[in-house]
């Protein structure tokens, strides 16, 4: 008996066990049905399609820009939660905590820089993803609503970037938020009210720091996760990842699926 089959037997035994079956109901075996059930019956994976075509997941189709954006978002959530353990959103402690993270906390410099660079990269990737979608025409019917959700996610990304900018509480942060929040005063009629509510006062101060902290760490990430879930689910609902219908037949033949079953 070869090693592979023995390992397979062990895996099958675990997957067939009562405990495993109580968690994952799709059961043993690797038939198409079982593999489809594994996707369908998982609360996270059921957002995605059970079957995708090879040319949908080819690198050239999407350059994986959406997936990479999700990757930076996950890095930001994990590093962000860790940074929160050493950060007090108060004046002037916030600045000292930021410096402590850089020079006192073990791995603090690495985590802070990882958070910062991932944030820059995420903004870049969001735009790159949108350009790719736009130039391929992947925003067209029936995917136009998913494009709108993408716009909402773009705004959330920019707001996350903006609110995070104040948290180091240095001169750059202070004046950037002074300038940025004054932009909201330009809204007709209610501009100064929006400015007041955003900052929790008339100037960038302790209230503003705390409000931006709550927005940055709780409200905006929750909104982002919610819209990301809808965004992914809509990919399946809108017929899977977009593939150009005009692509040459020779490429379609390597798909491993019958052309007649092509999703239109």
């Amino acid at each position: 008996m070869s090693m592979t089959t023995k390992a397979d037997q062990i895996v099958d035994k675990v997957r067939g066990s009562r405990v495993w079956r109580s968690v994952f109901r799709s059961g043993t075996g690797s038939s198409t049905l079982h593999r489809a059930l594994a996707i369908q019956q998982n609360v996270f994976l059921h957002l995605f399609a059970t079957k995708v075509r090879k040319r949908m997941v080819r690198f050239s189709s999407t350059w994986y820009l959406g997936t990479l954006t999700l990757g930076t978002f996950l890095i930001l959530v994990i590093t962000g939660i860790l940074l929160m353990l050493y950060y007090h959103p108060s004046v002037p402690q916030a600045y000292a905590d930021m410096k402590d993270l850089q020079f006192v906390v073990s791995s603090g410099l690495f985590l802070r820089n990882l958070h910062r660079w991932s944030a820059q990269l995420m903004v870049f990737l969001v735009f790159a993803h949108m350009f790719k979608v736009f130039y391929r025409g992947a925003y067209r019917t029936p995917r136009e609503f998913n494009w709108v959700i993408g716009i909402v996610l773009l705004l959330i990304t920019l707001l996350l970037s903006y609110t995070g900018y104040l948290l180091p509480w240095d001169q750059l942060a202070f004046w950037a938020i002074t300038v940025g929040s004054n932009l909201s005063s330009a809204v007709p009629l209610v501009g100064s009210k929006i400015h007041f509510l955003l900052l929790g006062g008339n100037q960038v101060n302790a209230n503003a720091l705390l409000r931006f902290y709550v927005l940055h760490c709780v409200i905006l990430p929750l909104a982002a996760i919610l819209f990301i879930a809808v965004h992914f689910w809509r990919i399946r609902k809108d017929g899977g990842l977009y593939v150009q219908q005009s692509e040459p037949k020779t490429q379609a033949a390597t798909d491993g699926t019958l052309p007649a079953k092509e999703v239109k």
Binding site: W175, T178, V179, N182, F196, L197, G200
Partner: protein, 156 residues
């Protein structure tokens, strides 16, 4: 034989209206409640009224900046006046340049004269003149919350 009630007395429609109406009132209340909650009633911000000291501390034809309160106290030949140092563009703190005799903003390059008029840059309005008075003790008092028309010098 039962008589069918007219549509406007339909029990289901009546309760639907009551229910939606109550939800509407509750939603409006929630908006007001949230707005009130988000607007702080007490602010720990510096007072708008600033005591800048005795008039004789300022030389004739001098511009003195108070960085903490964001104002210029100018003593011209015509008298005293106070000018807001906060740029009317996007709220950066401007600075007085003694050599050039102008007020300049470091953020987006707006420039102003000593009396607050814009020379160049994106600022949409001149720097406002602020209400200036003399206290009983003879100190100069500037109220940053009250703008006055320009060229109203305080003569002592």
């Amino acid at each position: 034989m039962t008589q069918k009630l007219p549509a406007e007395f339909d029990r289901r429609a009546f309760f639907t209206k009551i229910g939606l109406g109550s939800l509407g009132i509750a939603a409006a209340g929630t908006v007001v409640f949230t707005y009130e909650f988000l607007s702080p009633n007490v602010l720990f911000e510096p007072s708008a009224i600033v005591n800048v000291g005795k008039p004789e501390n300022f030389a004739v034809n001098s511009v003195t900046m108070d960085v903490n309160s964001g104002i210029y106290l100018v003593r011209a030949d015509e008298g005293f006046f106070a000018l807001s140092a906060v740029c009317t563009h996007l709220g950066c703190l401007t600075a007085w340049n003694q050599d050039l005799g102008i007020i300049a903003c470091p953020c987006h390059g707006s420039k102003f004269t000593r009396t607050g008029e814009k020379i160049e840059g994106p600022a949409p309005k001149p720097l406002p003149w602020l209400k200036t008075s003399v206290s009983d003790e003879g100190d100069l008092i500037v109220d940053r919350s009250i703008d006055i028309p320009p060229l109203q010098y305080l003569r002592i």
